[in-house]
């Protein structure tokens, strides 16, 4: 692996190197003038510039958007309306009944996303854990099986959505199998609850390999001699699982749960391609709401979309902080 990398690296760097050596002379002058501090600034500048323009500034603008009304994109053309967008989004007589909300589409998306997150994360964690445990057993051709479960992770959401749309459509493969088994064909993508289930299932299909891999890494990091010691003590295998494997895997498991939470809250691409949010609004999630309100729909309202995205961002910040906290605790624990 390393020799390959080195060779590839050498070939890749040769022509670039020639070009880069040209800038050495002016940079030496800069270094002489400014010292290490100046060089640090030089090395950081490109990244921070792009950071600033495309992440920091939009973050600031986002708040300004959420406080202003109208459909114009330029801030100067927008009128200040204070917290009206937030008020509108949060105005609800009964939060469990979306029809009573001022922005029922938003609350519909919130509830869809909430249910999606709960169901998807729970199933995802269980499936990933079982898969990781099986991949960690003394399996032959393990890398093949790992590849089987992992490869959908790299597929693009559009490809994932289209494959499954093709399989789940009324005349698709799944209905053929159902028909052969003696069942009635189902409208997988045009019946509300089936479409939602399909969204959950497809997103698990697309991402489970990633989480299984994280758990597998955790399992492989558990020292073998612990199991040997347990075997010497004659510990039953279920007990070994609950008293050794699970506690030692806990840091990875928590990472998987939080990471999949964060991604599930943002679910969009593959479901959007699969169902387009339909039927009706039964698979329309928060990101799609932001996208539709911000860009696509006739009722374009960037301010409202910004306000919604800030609410979503707040949830994500909480989740990310949880993840970072867990990661830090995990690191301490492992040392």
């Amino acid at each position: 692996m390393t020799t390959l990398t080195k060779r590839v690296g050498a070939i890749a760097f040769a022509p670039i190197g020639k070009g880069l050596s040209l800038v050495d002379r002016p940079l030496r002058a800069w270094q002489k003038k400014t010292g290490h501090g100046g060089m640090a600034a030089f090395f950081l500048a490109p990244n921070l510039l792009i950071f600033g323009i495309f992440i920091i500034i939009p973050l600031i603008i986002n708040f300004m958007y959420s406080m202003t009304g109208g459909s114009a994109l330029f801030l100067a053309d927008r009128t200040f309306i204070g917290g009206d967008h937030y008020a509108r989004l949060l105005d609800c007589e009964d939060y469990t009944r979306t029809v009573t909300c001022k922005d029922d589409l938003f609350w519909n998306a919130v509830w869809n996303t909430g249910w999606f997150v709960i169901i998807q994360v729970a199933l995802m964690t269980v499936v990933a854990l079982i898969t990781a445990l099986i991949l960690n057993s003394d399996l032959r051709a393990r890398s093949f099986w790992r590849a089987v479960f992992f490869f959908p992770v790299l597929l693009s959401p559009v490809v994932v959505g289209l494959i499954w749309q093709w399989i789940l459509q009324r005349e698709g493969l799944l209905n053929f199998i159902v028909y052969e088994a003696g069942g009635e064909p189902v409208n997988w993508l045009t019946e509300r609850s089936w479409a939602f289930a399909a969204a959950v299932g497809v997103s698990i299909w697309a991402h489970v390999g990633f989480y299984a891999l994280i758990l597998l890494a955790g399992l492989q990091a558990i020292p073998k001699d612990l199991y040997e010691a347990a075997e010497m003590d004659g510990t039953r295998s279920t007990r070994v699982f609950f008293r050794i494997t699970l506690p030692l895997l806990m840091p990875n498991l928590l990472v998987v749960i939080v990471l999949s939470l964060i991604r599930a809250v943002q679910v969009f691409d593959e479901v959007y391609v699969l169902t387009g949010g339909g039927p009706g609004t039964s698979t329309m999630f928060l990101t799609q709401y932001i996208y539709e309100i911000g860009f696509a729909s006739l009722l374009r309202n960037p301010g409202l979309a910004a306000a919604a995205s800030i609410l979503m961002g707040a949830v994500l910040v909480v989740l990310t902080l949880m993840q970072l906290g867990l990661a830090r605790r995990g690191q301490k624990g492992s040392v």
Binding site: R28, H36, N47, L155
Partner: protein, 350 residues
């Protein structure tokens, strides 16, 4: 074969079947069908003709109808295997069908018309690939443009990502300067800001910079990934500082230290980041969808999506284009699986 049997029947602990063995086989078997099946089905279907795609029940492998040119008929005739009254099977070409009776001829003796009950005939088919599903989008549609756009975006974004991220990581791992922890904090904070949260303002920034409907508008917002900076910084921290000191004694400038010493030594981490960047950028969908509204600028993903949304869904083209879209990622996966798994296990990249 015996090996396969031995593999399939090997059990935990040797002699007795344990329930976990059964479960393992069940899980792996189901996994193979559910995870791999759709892809196989996709590839198989992508070579089918539109008629065959509409067929019910479907077949896994693509077949093509056999046709024959017969003198006196304008169109090629479809061949059928006909069970004759005496029980023998003959291959005949169908001229026309009236009700439940088909008029057929023997291509070798086209003058004699044979009437056959349609229940007694079956289309003669052979495995064959409808390669026009692939050829036509390349010729007629803007598919090559999309492909080129995607390649351009992927290559440029990856190149810039590697370059800027490695420079930032170098500064953050090898220099002590005032504000270093502040910079780290800012980068850390941006980890929490997914694209979907800043969609609207990011679009206004990009349009202010006149980058809407340009590929650079797709590329630039994606390249300053905090993940990449972190990954590379962690790796660079493992490069001993003595090496840099040695280079300084060797009269190397800081820039030379970066690209002659540190960058080559970071190659494994750069490779991991490069692979992930390629996959990320190749697969990007929502952002290009927003930035690009002119069709000739579409990336593959957007092109594919918009094509699938057309009124008259032409699945045979869509499936073929989906396969083409998959190919680079599959190649990356097959050859660089090890890097990918280390990237995920080591850094939680995705």
């Amino acid at each position: 074969m015996s090996r396969a049997v031995a593999f399939l029947t090997r059990r935990r602990g040797g002699d007795r079947w344990h329930w976990t063995d059964v479960f393992t086989f069940f899980w792996l078997g189901a996994g193979l069908i559910i995870m791999f099946g759709p892809a196989v089905w996709l590839v198989g279907s992508s070579f089918k003709t539109p008629g065959q795609l509409a067929e019910f029940p479907p077949t896994i492998l693509p077949y093509v109808e056999q046709v024959v040119e017969v003198e006196g008929f304008d169109k090629p005739l479809v061949l059928y295997d006909v069970t004759m009254e005496d029980g023998s099977v003959q291959r005949l070409a169908q001229v026309r069908r009236i009700g439940t009776t088909a008029q057929m001829i023997d291509p070798a003796a086209p003058d004699e018309v044979i009437r056959v009950n349609i229940r007694n005939r079956e289309v003669a088919r052979e495995i064959g690939f409808a390669t026009e599903n692939y050829a036509e989008p390349f010729q007629r549609l803007d598919f090559v443009r999309y492909l080129w756009n995607s390649v351009f975006v992927t290559v440029m974004a990856t190149f810039i990502t590697l370059f800027t991220n490695s420079m930032a990581a170098f500064a953050l791992s090898k220099y002590k300067f005032r504000g270093r922890s502040a910079v780290m904090l800012v980068i850390l904070a941006t980890l929490m800001v997914p694209l979907s949260v800043i969609l609207v303002p990011l679009y206004s920034v990009v349009s202010t910079l006149n980058l809407t409907n340009t590929l650079w508008g797709v590329i630039l917002p994606t390249v300053a990934t905090p993940t990449g900076v972190f990954l590379l910084r962690q790796y660079m921290l493992t490069i001993p500082d003595e090496l840099l000191d040695a280079a300084r004694m060797d009269k190397a400038s800081e820039w030379q230290i970066y690209w002659r010493i540190v960058l080559p030594l970071t190659a494994p981490a750069l490779a991991v980041l490069a692979i992930f960047s390629v996959v990320w950028r190749w697969n990007d969908f929502l952002w290009p969808l927003i930035v690009l509204s002119r069709q000739e600028l579409y990336t593959l993903q957007v092109g594919l999506y918009s094509f699938s949304g057309e009124l008259n869904v032409q699945w045979h083209f869509i499936l073929a284009m989906t396969v083409v879209t998959m190919i680079p990622v599959v190649i990356v996966f097959v050859f660089l699986q090890r890097f990918i798994t280390t990237g995920i296990a080591g850094a939680g990249l995705k």
